[in-house]
């Protein structure tokens, strides 16, 4: 890493210029998929299964076809003829595009109706007649493994159970030995429940086939437009040079817009067959009921320790509910993502985890909701176990963590499950957090309150993330190496365009990536236009998720800018008639060493690149491209402390204070970093306190709309106190690590630990999320401590 030098250039790294993209958003001039209106455009609506598991006897679309404006009804059988009734998932499974044999979850896609208006398409859903024979339903993943359980994936040849995979990491024998010697073993059986990213913009597509040119343009709510183009080409057999994915402004993604959904595929097929643009935009209900859910991990964790609090080993057994199709989005070689980061911030002797994936009659998914591939579940498990160990041993939760942290001199640190952490200073972040929250006073206050029968808790989370995939030797998606790219072209007047393979969904890339260029080349950030999201006009990349944009695309941007800086140096040397090595570069100007009056600005060098008097051996023009394959992951970390007061009469948990100290390495735009942390913490608060998608025994989905699936409003969202710590990544070009997901990964367990800390005097060691007032009240009542 070359540390980011302090540049005085407008918008250089470390400054917080206002966001460039806001100029269109605050005027209502954003361009989201649903805003695309094309001449002759048709509208698609999807008829979905009311049953969670049922055989389809027949599908009759004749009534719908006779309804006003209806152009076509597409069934699974229609797709069979085109080889599109089933599609591969990112996890190497198959998923029904439209059901042919049976339906496997409530809300599954069965028939698509294409009509002239969206109202007509919706009307015609009433005219679809499907004859079903309901089948027994599996909702509980534990029940799914019973010998007499009905087989959900009867389409898979030879499938005789509902088991998808077993994945193990770590050394089971070494872990057993460590456990055998331990004084204390803390056990925790917990469910990280099924939740949904629920971005404010739902998923959708406008497919626009041009018969004359054979070009298929798909406007798509996509976090990974290039990968999606390749997958469309592979699955649908469309020639890739005639496929263009435009992911315009995206109204939030959080992992929800990584998979390819049946609606995208059918809208594309319909446009191809009918020859007109076809729009499909899902409703909120469709979004919550059918597109990528997250988590749903049933975890049994064990933490071995000595009686004086030395943590020795970790064991985890997970039952992962993937729904009816394994449509999770993880790198191909990682069926449980990076769950084996579960040893977290602690120096353990041994660890082992085992994850079993199963099918149930629920919506497919298991996507990485604002997290790097199951890191969230892993961080939750270890941090819950550590707080319970603190309660068991009577050692203060902060002290216990400090005793067991990986120490700064141990980096690069090899974890017992095989990861090599790049850098960290966990105690430093912890100390900043303790200071900010006023920890000693709080513990005194808690003791006084307890004496008076009041219920107050303090919860910790000292998480370590693993982000920036990255590392193509171990990470690919459908065989595509997880690289990313940047193409930089500076025009003769010194202003230019940066084109990216990553794709913003609100992160502010049009500002922050221009800042990287400003830092490296000394061109003001306002002179760099950032383009992304259009596969015809940007270099290839794997997209934005898993906090990978800055670690990969950001690195590519710095490197391509450095290549061009070297070209500029050659030009400056030519213009100043000196050797390139005699030049110093600072904030956009090359100066001859020892002769400050002899200098050339970067803009003068760029102009020189387009002039006729360049030496013959120097290529004209000023542009380059870089594809970056990260050598390692990055490991952001932090300590969060949550303080809660609980109302004994109602069970209401009031978050009094929440301190978040994040270390994401070098910060490009501190304003945007803080904004990302605010948002992620609030999502973590939603996860901990209110969000849940659940099912009754017949597989009916609860949580299929915003009346039932509660996300935080301004009224209940806490205020956040942020602190900062900076340990630059040693391998990233300017020391950044990525930040978007740390707060969602790090925060849920801090809320839960605070509530368990408040209640442990009453013998409570666990409450599963979400911590609704009703649930907490019941726990209090059962412990005999509710107010009358």
């Amino acid at each position: 890493m070359t540390a980011a030098t302090e540049s005085t250039v407008n918008g250089a790294i470390g400054q917080s210029p206002k966001r460039v993209e806001d100029d269109r958003f605050i005027r209502g001039m954003g361009n989201y998929v649903d805003d695309v209106q094309l001449p002759g455009m048709l509208h698609m609506a999807i008829y979905r299964s009311p049953f969670a598991h049922a055989t389809i006897n027949s599908i009759d679309t004749s009534r719908a076809l006779a309804m006003p404006g209806v152009v076509a009804c597409i069934t699974g059988q229609d797709l069979v003829a085109h080889g599109l009734a089933w599609m591969p998932t990112l996890a190497g499974d198959t998923q029904a595009v439209l059901a042919t044999d049976k339906v496997r979850f409530q809300g599954q896609e069965v028939v698509c109706v294409i009509a002239k208006t969206s109202y007509q398409a919706e009307d015609a859903l009433e005219g679809i007649d499907v004859d079903y024979d309901p089948l027994p339903v599996i909702v509980d993943p534990k029940r799914a493994l019973d010998a007499d359980a009905p087989i959900i994936r009867s389409d898979l040849e030879g499938k005789t159970d509902n088991h998808i995979f077993t994945w193990e990491s770590g050394d089971a024998e070494a872990t057993d030995r460590v456990f055998a010697e331990a004084d204390i073993v803390i056990k925790l059986d917990t469910l990280y429940p099924r939740i949904h990213p629920a971005p404010m913009e739902t998923c959708g597509a406008v497919a626009d086939y041009n018969k004359a040119t054979g070009k298929m343009t798909i406007h798509l709510t996509s976090q990974a437009p290039h990968a999606h183009r390749t997958l469309f080409a592979m699955v649908a057999g469309l020639p890739e040079q005639k496929l263009r994915i435009i992911s315009p402004d995206v109204g939030g993604g959080f992992g929800n817009k990584v998979p390819i959904y049946p609606g995208y595929v059918v809208a594309t097929a319909a446009s191809l067959l009918i020859g007109k643009p076809v729009k499909w935009v899902e409703s909120r209900t469709e979004n919550l009921m059918s597109t990528g859910f997250a988590r749903d991990y049933h975890m049994e964790g064990e933490l071995a320790a000595t009686k004086d609090g030395k943590m020795l080993g970790l064991r985890a057994n997970v039952l992962a509910d993937h729904g009816a199709f394994n449509a999770q989005a993880q790198p191909s070689k990682w069926p449980a993502g990076f769950f084996n980061i579960a040893t977290g911030s602690y120096d353990l002797q041994a660890a082992h985890c085992k994850v079993d994936g199963v099918y149930t009659n629920k919506a497919p998914g298991g996507i990485a909701y604002r997290c790097s591939f199951r890191v969230t579940e892993a961080a939750y498990l270890i941090e819950r176990l550590v707080d319970n160990l603190a309660h068991e041993t009577g050692i203060d939760a902060a002290e216990l963590r400090k005793q067991n942290f990986i120490q700064p001199e141990q980096f690069p640190y090899k974890s017992p499950m095989g990861w090599e952490y790049d850098s960290g200073d966990y105690e430093k972040a912890m100390n900043i957090a303790l200071e900010l929250v006023g920890y000693e006073e709080l513990r005194k206050e808690q003791a006084e309150k307890r004496a008076k029968g009041e219920v107050m808790g303090i919860g910790f989370s000292s998480f370590t993330e693993i982000v920036g995939a990255g590392m193509s030797k171990i990470c690919d998606i459908a065989g595509l190496a997880m690289i990313d790219s940047a193409e930089l072209r500076i025009h003769p007047t010194g202003k230019g365009v940066l084109k990216l393979g990553v794709q913003s969904q609100g992160q502010g890339h049009e500002t922050t990536f221009a800042q990287i260029v400003a830092n490296e080349l000394g061109i003001p950030y306002t002179d760099i236009a950032v383009e992304h999201g259009d596969t015809d006009h940007t270099p290839y990349g794997l997209g934005t998720y898993a906090s990978r944009s800055t670690p990969t695309g950001g690195a590519a941007t710095a490197i391509v800018a450095r290549k061009l800086r070297e070209k500029a140096r050659q030009i400056a040397a030519h213009l100043l008639e000196c050797a390139p090595d005699d030049l110093e570069f600072d904030s956009g100007t090359f100066t001859v060493k020892g002769s400050p009056e002899k200098s050339k600005t970067i803009q003068e060098c760029v102009f020189g690149a387009y002039q006729s008097d360049l030496p013959d051996d120097m290529e004209k023009g000023f542009e380059d491209v870089t594809y970056y394959d990260a050598p390692e992951m990055t490991y952001p970390f932090g300590t969060y402390i949550c303080v809660v007061d609980i109302d004994k009469g109602t069970g209401q948990v009031k978050v009094r204070k929440f301190v978040a100290v994040d270390d994401c390495g070098t910060r490009i735009n501190p304003m945007i970093v803080d904004g990302q942390i605010h948002g992620g913490l609030t999502q973590g608060f939603g996860t901990a306190m209110m969000e849940l998608i659940s099912f009754d025994e017949d597989g009916n989905c609860f949580g299929g709309n915003f009346m039932d699936y509660l996300i935080p409003t301004a009224v209940e969202s806490p205020d956040w106190t942020l602190g900062e710590c900076t340990t630059p990544s040693p391998h990233h070009p300017f020391g950044a690590k990525g930040v978007g997901e740390s707060p969602t990964v790090g925060s849920p367990q801090a809320f839960v630990n605070a509530v368990v800390d408040a209640l442990h005097p009453y013998g409570i060691t666990n409450i599963d999320m979400p911590l609704s007032s009703h649930k907490v009240w019941k726990v209090l009542r059962d412990a005999g401590v509710t107010d009358e």
Binding site: D22, Y119, G506
Partner: protein, 161 residues
């Protein structure tokens, strides 16, 4: 469906006409007939407020009003916030205080805030939180939205003084 009806309304200060089915929701008339796509749709249950517009100065969720109910009335959308004099103080506040990330909830949020400041030029933080509680934002955690409202309130007061 039944015969279409003409809706005449003043939209962002201009007389507009649209031919719609009686069942057409106001948000669809605004987006599809008038092509003002700054007003967004985020749910089916009047929960999210992405579709908030002002009807005779009051914030309404345009997904829960029929277009025909707006006949003869004044509609204000995000596209009308900026005037010849420049951005509104609310727009300025959202940019200055980083009150938005993806921008999807922003137009509805800004319309609610515009109405709030008309009614209550100097709201407390609690009053702001309550006023925007019908507008969901998934990105910001509301912290900077509240600052944006305070910024706008301050600017407004400064301009009035």
């Amino acid at each position: 469906m039944s015969d279409k009806m003409i809706v005449k309304a003043t939209v962002n200060g201009e007389e507009c006409e649209a031919l719609v089915e009686p069942r057409t929701l106001l948000v669809h008339m605004i987006r599809e007939s008038l092509h003002l796509t700054g007003t967004h749709i985020g749910c089916d249950t009047t929960s999210c407020g992405a579709c908030t517009v002002l009807l005779d100065g009051k914030p309404v969720k345009s997904c829960t009003i029929l277009a025909v109910q707006a006949n003869g009335r004044e509609i204000a959308t995000v596209e009308g916030l900026e005037t010849a004099a420049g951005l509104s103080v609310v727009q300025e506040g959202f940019k200055e205080e980083h009150g938005l990330h993806c921008g999807y909830c922003t137009p509805g949020m800004m319309m609610t805030v515009t109405a709030l400041l008309e009614e209550n030029p100097d709201p407390t933080e609690d009053e702001i939180r309550k006023a925007i509680s019908g507008n969901l934002c998934r990105c910001t955690g509301y912290v900077n939205i509240i600052k944006a409202v305070q910024y706008a309130a301050g600017k407004k007061e400064g301009a009035a003084a």
